[in-house]
Symmetry: C2
Subunit: 199 residues, 2 copies
């Protein structure tokens, strides 16, 4: 639309590239920036560049870090004998929020996906095998997503860890808490039944 000044349009376009942001939300965000004092735009601008400049990848678990080890690997209170394997670093956030896991992580960096040309060598499975060999690991929990790719990847990881003799587990798949049986698909229901526990 020619009725929008070019630099405002540029800002709208950039906001619209963010995930979950449509054209309308991008417009609202840009107008918001326009209305607020310059400090807010400056802070967001600085934070964007700082994120790209300062953040690195943890050499131990491949989580996001800010120079050196990630906050989890460098936390002396974590249980270093359990490793939870996830697809992406972003999967760590929800797990940490749950507070149910106090061990370490291992970020695979994706899943097996022939269509995206992602194969075994693109994932950090050898690095995991190495960690299990060296460290005093008692259990590896595989927390890849319960998708076809996630399940296939979980199987491969389990298979590659077999020679080490470490205990390998998989997170439970079932009915989400707060949801209803009525809305669950048959595969989830099958998993929920298979994974049933005693009361």
């Amino acid at each position: 639309m020619s009725s929008i000044p070019p630099s405002l349009q540029a800002l709208i376009d950039e906001f619209a590239r963010l995930p979950g942001v449509g054209k309308k939300s991008a417009q609202r965000m840009a107008i918001h920036i326009l209305k607020k004092p310059k400090e807010q735009a400056q802070r967001l601008s600085d934070a964007l560049l700082a994120t790209k400049e300062r953040l690195t990848i943890c050499k131990k678990c491949f989580n996001i870090a800010e120079g050196g080890d990630c906050p989890i690997c460098s936390d002396p209170k974590r249980d270093t004998r359990i490793i939870c394997v996830v697809e992406q670093a972003s999967d760590i956030l929800p797990l940490e929020k749950s507070g149910a896991f106090r061990g370490l992580y291992h970020v695979l960096g994706g899943v097996l996906s022939p269509l995206d040309h992602k194969n075994e060598s693109d994932l950090r499975i050898n690095e995991l095998v190495e960690r299990v060999k060296i460290g005093n690991i008692t259990e590896v929990i595989i927390a890849t997503n319960p998708t076809t790719e996630g399940e296939t990847t979980a199987m491969l990881v389990a298979q590659m860890l077999k020679p080490s003799g470490v205990k390998v587990t998989r997170i439970a798949r079932g009915i989400p808490v707060g949801s209803e049986l009525e809305f669950a698909d048959e595969v989830t229901l099958t998993r929920a039944l298979e994974g049933r526990g005693e009361l």
Copy 2:
């Protein structure tokens, strides 16, 4: 959460300040920036600062401009005899999108709102009266929001324009297209009936 590096947390916090962005969306956006090449962060960062630095306010209609008159006031194809009065510059965007208006605008810069200490002198009504006096204006359409404040402001604007003898109109209030009578409140229904037109 201590498991997030500080500069990533700072970016999440800044994203969360944007309108319509919750904690979870802010996290997704920050992770997205982290995953994409540095150029994207740089472009958004630049667009933010450019918006604050380059954008000015049009001296004629108080719309957002990029140096000099706004894109609408400087468009020779607009009908300069009709002025549409809006509360905020952001109200111009949806009107322009509709394509139903080809005249000029006048941004009041708010509405009368005693609770927010916004009174007559805070709005650009005198500037509007001046424009009507000087220019060859045939009609002023008041398009403030159909809220209590918007309606009060519309009445005041109409009253202040009265001495000029210009034709003053108000946008129609009624049932939104695509909506149903069932969901309309009684005030809207009253307005829809009052504003009925012949078929």
